[in-house]
Symmetry: C2
């Protein structure tokens, strides 16, 4: 059923530059079929076609764009069985998660479709003042228009919700921008199935050829060529800091600056105020064990492969022992889990080894060949502040518990942290109110500030901010999740003194 | 009355790195006093103090920020006589213009103050859904918070409205961001008077030291050091393409990417549809002469020293002769005007010489030593499309009339233009409706699309967009004029499950 082809200019074409295969995430075996790497010539064709599509697609009405997004959602739902057969093998993620993520992906598309139908293009209007002196004021309308073709890169850890028809694609298409999608090499088959769904929606909704294109390639030059192409007007990326910075460097070599929306990860500090553990606000049971179960549960979700994974736990010295013991009991029972790719598993093991060199291992979960084991380390605030190696994200179910003496030391620690996607503050409402200064400091460190909840589970809604100060993202003014994500791919146009004959 | 000092950390201090003087724009003589260049050490002190101020200023309420902006407006108005005595000498701009520009500057400050009082910080809210399955939805609020200290560069051509307390300063202060203002070396005395007004407002409103700082320096290294300083979180600039690109290069060397809002100028195409000249829609007189008077009037406004100056006039071959004759009659009577600086006058003369090498001089206005003369050149669409030298902005009262054969050639010409701040379409409403394709193409070339009006005269209001596709600006998603300008210096923060004890 899978062809290994790319989808360029509404045709399925074979890449001309060799091939690669997906790896089974459960047993690390090679999976059929071969996926063909596209050539630079094919890349140029796709980018040029995206521009031709833009000339048409930017004139498509909001209602028709909404119908297109809904059509993609319908076609995706019709392919649930195909996805459930392929995606768990490519990613190691269980069927239930894939079904849930499909629901989220479909929900995102329908959210944007609904907003397109509900809202209009206009931001503001100033009525003409023909009698104003010394000069009359003309009629002025401010509306949004799409930026142009958008390059989107798939994320390894969300094969559906941040990939071929994920949040970046949905928000760009909603904005009126064609998408050139570079599939993640970890789940090329999943991407092909999703692109087939989009192809069907293009046909059903009579959308222009090139409004969505799927590129398969394991060659980094294709990614860099894509972001440097003069027709591309924005880039959406979710992935590692290293790859994000390499793409940014390529984008900077362009003559025309374009926005780069890179979401690069985070260690998501969990701040337990002094008294939070013993008062047990978190959870319903009101005790150390419940809090520890909540923390370890969030840490293990999806094998810790979330950018909102809680990687840094800040606990008062006076409560650390009790909490650590409860955490250790939870961790020791944690089952081993497959990871997204062999490379991610290997990087996780190296990350844990690095933490082990610089901190004390508190507890580790059960292990197994080709599976990761949960690991929690512990160190002091003094050690943490002195050692930047401890600040680096370890992608997977590893956390570092840091014990602090008092809130003064905690403030000092927070001041030395880099920008984060999220942080949580745990403690009673009264305790939080008594630490307003900490709340204020954290607000400027993160994109989303959470009270008494874990950061995993990013709601797709109007009020979400998924992004944060650098290096957690490259553009703190934008979100990659939720309805505000569309703003990344639009810009204002002022219309002055528009004749009535042009009224829409 | 003028000290030549810089205003750092609420103190007037002498720069430690030599000095420079303002030049009288009317007779090119040197003016007292000496302005002292700050040192790198003084720059670092200012940037660090801006951060300290940010820690306070970001907590100042909207109402108190509004009072501060209104206070600056009051203090500026109280200094009108001082400004009218100094600014015309530094800029060559007449007293009436300075008074008008002061009114605009004060109006901008009051617009932002009014919006601060009218609006709140919240963008969106999702109500909690505690009963939702499989997972409850938490309470989510999305609000704006300020980015941090902003570096602002003064523009030569707006000594008040785009300078020390101009649009960038007003929108940054409104957003909650301290401003480190690098004065333009062409009007340092004006900047000092304005900074004195801000100093008085700081004292009156009890604002933190460092919320606004004025740097005097003729040393480029200070500008580059300012934008590279890790405490700076955004840059506002209005000026030439060359200086803008040099600053962008410095900004790219930072570890942390920050937004650079550079407004770099434009030739602002004036598109006369076939029949526009003879039907004479523009103006009330309905004839060639009225249209020519309108065009030449806009061209000469402020000696053509506006980024919205109409520099490119596209006229149908069949009507070009009649229009050219009417334009020539207007131009020949145009009085010579002083320019902002001797360097700008010299660059203008070189720009006219370049146009003269590549196109035919249609008419030139009256000339005088140390004054510019209006110049209008003419060429064909074929010549224009083949010669990129004709696409470059000539800053001053020079325009290039380009004659086209038909709308197909016009489409082709527009497709070869770089991004522009504005364009105007002139013609009857019926004619415009019959050329929807041109309207559509132009929409994606500009930030503001104007019908039957000239681009000069940028309204400060809610629906304004002053910016455009590169190279007219470095960030097409933003405007530097109007109430949306504040969005450049803010970013979203999501608050999840906020305890009621923290309610504002």
């Amino acid at each position: 059923m899978l062809s290994g082809l790319s989808f360029i200019n509404n045709q399925w074409v074979a890449g001309e530059q060799g091939s690669f295969t997906a790896i089974n995430a459960l047993d690390h075996s090679v999976m059929a079929p071969q996926f063909h790497n596209i050539s630079q010539a094919q890349l140029l064709q796709a980018c040029e076609q995206a521009w031709q599509a833009f000339l048409q697609y930017r004139q498509v009405s909001r209602a028709d764009r909404a119908a297109f997004l809904s059509g993609i959602a319908d076609e995706l739902q019709a392919r649930e069985a195909e996805l459930v057969a392929r995606t768990p093998l490519e990613t190691g993620l269980p069927e239930l998660r894939i079904k849930g993520e499909l629901g989220r992906t479909v929900g995102q598309l329908r959210l944007f479709a609904g907003n397109l139908r509900r809202d209009d293009d206009y931001i503001a209007q100033d009525q003409p003042l023909p009698e104003r002196t010394p000069l009359p004021r003309p009629d002025l309308k401010l509306k949004t228009i799409p930026l142009g073709p958008v390059a989107v890169f798939g994320a390894s850890n969300f094969p559906l919700a941040f990939s071929a028809a994920g949040g970046d694609t949905a928000s760009a298409l909603a904005a009126g921008c064609p998408v050139v999608y570079k599939a993640h090499t970890a789940h090329p088959g999943t991407s092909e199935i999703v692109a087939q769904a989009i192809e069907a929606a293009i046909a059903r909704c009579n959308m222009p050829a090139g409004v969505y294109q799927l590129l398969q390639s394991k060659d980094y030059d294709i990614s860099h060529g894509l972001v440097q192409h003069p027709r591309m007007q924005a880039v959406g990326f979710t992935g590692s800091y290293a790859v994000g910075m390499a793409l940014q460097e390529s984008i900077r070599q362009r003559q025309q600056p374009i926005p780069f929306y890179g979401e690069l990860g985070s260690i998501n500090p969990q701040l337990l105020l002094p008294g939070a553990v013993s008062s047990g606000k978190q959870g319903d049971n009101g005790n150390d064990a419940a809090l520890a179960a909540t923390f370890v549960g969030s840490l293990n979700l999806g094998a810790g492969q979330f950018c909102t994974n809680p990687g840094l736990w800040l606990v008062s010295e006076s409560e650390a022992d009790a909490f650590a013991q409860a955490v250790a009991r939870e961790v020791e029972h944690a089952a081993p889990q497959p990871m997204l790719t062999p490379a991610i598993l290997s990087a996780y093991q190296q990350g844990c080894a690095r933490l082990h060199r610089h901190a004390t291992l508190l507890a580790s979960g059960q292990g197994e060949d080709k599976r990761c084991s949960t690991q929690v380390f512990v160190t002091s605030a003094v050690e943490f502040m002195a050692n930047k190696a401890l600040h680096q994200e370890v992608f997977g179910p590893a956390a570092l518990m840091v014990t602090y003496k008092d809130t003064a030391e905690l403030e000092q620690l927070l001041a030395g942290l880099e920008g984060q996607l999220t942080a949580s503050i745990h403690g009673s409402d009264a305790l939080i109110a008594a630490n307003r200064n900490l709340v204020e400091s954290l607000s400027y460190l993160v994109g989303r500030l959470i009270f008494n909840q874990m950061p995993t589970g990013v709601e797709v809604c109007d009020a979400m901010m998924h992004g944060g100060p650098f290096p957690s993202s490259t553009d703190v003014r934008s979100t990659s999740v939720g309805s505000q994500a569309i703003a990344r791919f639009q810009r204002p146009l002022c219309l002055q003194n528009t004749p009535s004959t042009l009224a829409e």
